[in-house]
């Protein structure tokens, strides 16, 4: 741990971490220093001047907090009249050309300019000349919409493209009143992390075309979750809202800070995975393509299980650790073979060295923990002569060709438990709806062997049962998530001594030696 230093803020003694700048150090103990251009991931730029503070030790009267390191015995002043006047003046300058179109701005409600105006400014504009008009609603590519009038020129977006993605599509052109963020002519944003500038932008200058006008930010419930887009397992906020007379719908995913996994960012593809949670859902049980009651369908599948001579359970690498364990137990009970065959989830060469991984499933590392065979050979051996194939959320159409899948569905009865109406569900003789990732709780192990947990975020008007519940109705011995967790700590060597009910928020790194890298 970093050393602690003691310093004084407004005469009050606080203990903060050393080596950090004042914004981060003092912010960690709950005292906010306003800032627009500084971002922990992008470093201090010092162009907005919003974080100017006074320090009583013979230095120049004002220093930018983002460029000043916390030191022992420092006397930081935030509430003197002078500092307050500086903050008010900076806000007034920022708002000179601002269009104040909060009513139509998607950032309203989570906008730093709004917050700081209410907190540090609160005065009427003294401007009598007309504001400088700039371009609005510019398409920057990658689903980023730019509004030059709202921009405060903090250059966070510019620095992001230069420092993080190293693509450098954005720049600030012109000076003074005419300075504006822009792309190079004919060279729009073209990187796989571009939508992060929407989150980075402290004001409404960068907005998402996908989220545009969908919801006001204050209506959204911000639940914690984990992205299932790839095996990185980026931490996210699930922003969802239940409108009157409607269902609980997810409107966007936003990255959530986790230094161990994804830092401050996430990829654009991961953001868009929220659409899978809303669209094309399997909401009713299907028997040979016809809608039936859930109980009848479960009963039909249970009869099929009891009559079948050879059963194969195909587990998805997107299932949570608890679900996999429950399915394993169920398979053992009814003498079924278990396969995790899911080569189709891997897109070789798609990953990069930042966040995106080749493997587009979230929990493949758990296969190794539980000893589930995911090889093609094992799958073929298991399927040979089987008369019942139960896919647990595993969309076999990704891994198998259409002909192979048809042949498989012809040879044996295909049952499917899943949340989405995918190709495998369409082929299935029995399809049972289960809760999707955001509607369920569970544990994931990511590609770096970090164990993370997520809780139920979205509750639909008519919630689907979670997978473990449905499996238990089919005859599985594990009734719920808690039983599965108790069983896991007892049965899996790598999880010995880990209390799965008490996993810390930032995740738990499993010892690498026990989890061989299984990226297929």
């Amino acid at each position: 741990m970093a050393d602690k230093v003691k310093l004084f803020v407004n005469g009050q003694e606080v203990e903060v971490e050393s080596g950090k700048n004042l914004i981060d150090a003092i912010g960690a103990v709950g005292i906010e220093i306003p800032h627009l251009c500084y971002h922990p991931a992008l470093g201090a730029d010092g162009n907005c001047r919003m974080c100017l503070v006074g320090i009583e030790d013979g230095r120049p009267p004002l220093v930018p907090a983002c460029k000043t390191r916390a030191a022992e015995g420092m006397k930081v002043q935030l509430d003197t009249d002078k500092i307050k006047k500086i903050q008010r003046d900076i806000m007034e300058l920022e708002l000179i050309n601002h269009p104040i179109d909060c009513p139509i701005c998607d950032q309203a409600g989570e906008c730093k300019l709004q917050d700081y105006y209410m907190k540090y400014d609160g005065q009427k504009s003294r401007m009598t000349v007309k504001p400088v008009l700039k371009a609005k609603k510019m398409d920057f590519g990658c689903g980023v919409v730019h509004d030059q009038e709202r921009c405060v020129l903090c250059a966070r977006c510019v620095r992001f493209t230069r420092l993080i993605t190293k693509t450098g599509e954005l720049g600030i052109v012109n000076r003074t009143d005419y300075a504006r963020v822009n792309i190079f002519p004919g060279r729009p944003l073209a990187n796989r992390y571009a939508l992060n500038v929407v989150d980075l932008c402290p004001v409404g200058a960068m907005t998402s075309a996908d989220f545009r006008f969908k919801q006001r930010s204050w209506f959204l419930t911000k639940s914690k979750g984990i992205c299932r887009g790839c095996s990185k397992g980026c931490n996210i906020f699930i922003d969802h809202n239940r409108e009157k007379y409607k269902d609980d719908v997810i409107y966007r995913f936003r990255p959530r800070l986790n230094e161990k996994v994804n830092g401050y960012f996430m990829c654009d593809a991961g953001r868009m995975t929220y659409k899978q949670e809303n669209d094309n859902r399997l909401t009713v049980a299907l028997l040979d393509g016809k809608e039936t009651g859930l109980n009848e369908a479960v009963e039909a599948l249970r009869r099929a299980v009891s009559q079948a001579k050879k059963i194969v359970c195909v587990i998805s690498p997107n299932n949570s650790l608890e679900q996999m364990f429950a399915i394993q137990k169920f398979a053992a009970n009814c003498n079924a073979a278990v396969s995790g065959y899911s080569d189709g989830y891997v897109i070789a060469g798609d990953g990069d060295d930042f966040l995106i991984q080749d493997d587009k499933s979230a929990n493949r590392a758990s296969f190794a923990l539980l000893g589930i065979d995911a090889s093609k050979a094992g799958f073929d051996a298991a399927v040979n002569g089987a008369d019942l194939l139960i896919c647990f959320q595993n969309d076999l159409s990704l891994s198998l060709t259409a002909d192979a899948l048809n042949a498989l569905a012809g040879n044996c009865k295909l049952a499917y438990l899943g949340s989405n109406m995918d190709a495998c569900a369409e082929k299935a003789a029995i399809a049972l709806p289960v809760a999707s990732a955001t509607e369920d709780a569970g544990t994931l192990v990511n590609v770096d062997s970090i164990l993370q947990q997520y809780a139920v975020a979205v509750v639909k008007n008519t919630p689907a049962f979670d997978m473990i519940h449905v499996v238990s109705q089919l005859g599985g011995e594990i009734k719920n998530c808690f039983e599965a967790r108790a069983g896991l700590t007892a049965a899996v060597a790598a999880l010995k001594g880990i209390d799965l009910e008490q996993v810390p928020g930032e995740g738990l790194a499993l010892t690498v030696s026990e989890v061989p890298n299984v990226a297929a």
Partner: protein, 174 residues
């Protein structure tokens, strides 16, 4: 602290009042007086003969809502959801979309007010930053024969004119 304590005499303790019957007859005399005078001349009743005699509506009256327009006929509403956020009855349901009439960027594609849920508090009018919603139509009685007819659509809201001139409305304290 010793304040001046005034002990109020409790009424109804003496025999005369505790007999109760006499007080009952006194009360009945009062009510009978009203009855008799109304029976003999029913023009004295404090009654407005409502459907025929309409009440006078002032500019401050919070009647049925309307959406206002600019002079060129485009709507003032920009779908900022302030009214919906502020509505204590949650009777306003808005869906926003891209603006198509040339002004700014955003406009409502759906703007429903469920009059069965509305409590006519006027908070939507107060919250509106664009003066786009007003309750100055002077309509105080809304009737219909099915629930659906009480959900006002954006077209209904735009079509209804205000019942007062701009000066009267402003004088009303809006």
């Amino acid at each position: 602290m010793s304040g001046k304590i005034k002990i109020m005499e409790r009424k109804g303790k003496d025999l005369y009042e505790r007999l109760y019957l006499i007080e009952v007859f006194k009360g009945m005399a009062v009510t009978f007086g009203h009855f008799l005078s109304n029976l003999l001349d029913n023009s004295k009743l404090y009654v407005r003969h409502y459907p025929e005699v309409k009440p006078e509506i002032t500019a401050r009256w919070r009647g049925r809502h309307r959406l206002t327009k600019y002079e060129d006929g485009t709507m003032k509403c920009v779908a900022c959801f302030m009214c919906q956020t502020n509505c204590p009855a949650k009777c306003i349901m808005i869906e926003a979309g891209e603006r198509v009439d040339g002004r700014t960027e955003k406009m409502p594609v759906r703007f429903d007010i469920d009059l069965l849920e509305c409590i006519y508090c006027g908070y939507c009018v107060e919250a509106c930053p664009m003066d786009a919603i007003r309750m100055d139509t002077g309509i105080f009685s809304v009737t219909g024969d099915e629930r659906k007819s009480f959900v006002l659509k954006i077209t209904d809201l735009l079509e209804t004119p205000g019942a007062f001139t701009e000066e009267e409305y402003k004088k009303g304290g809006a």
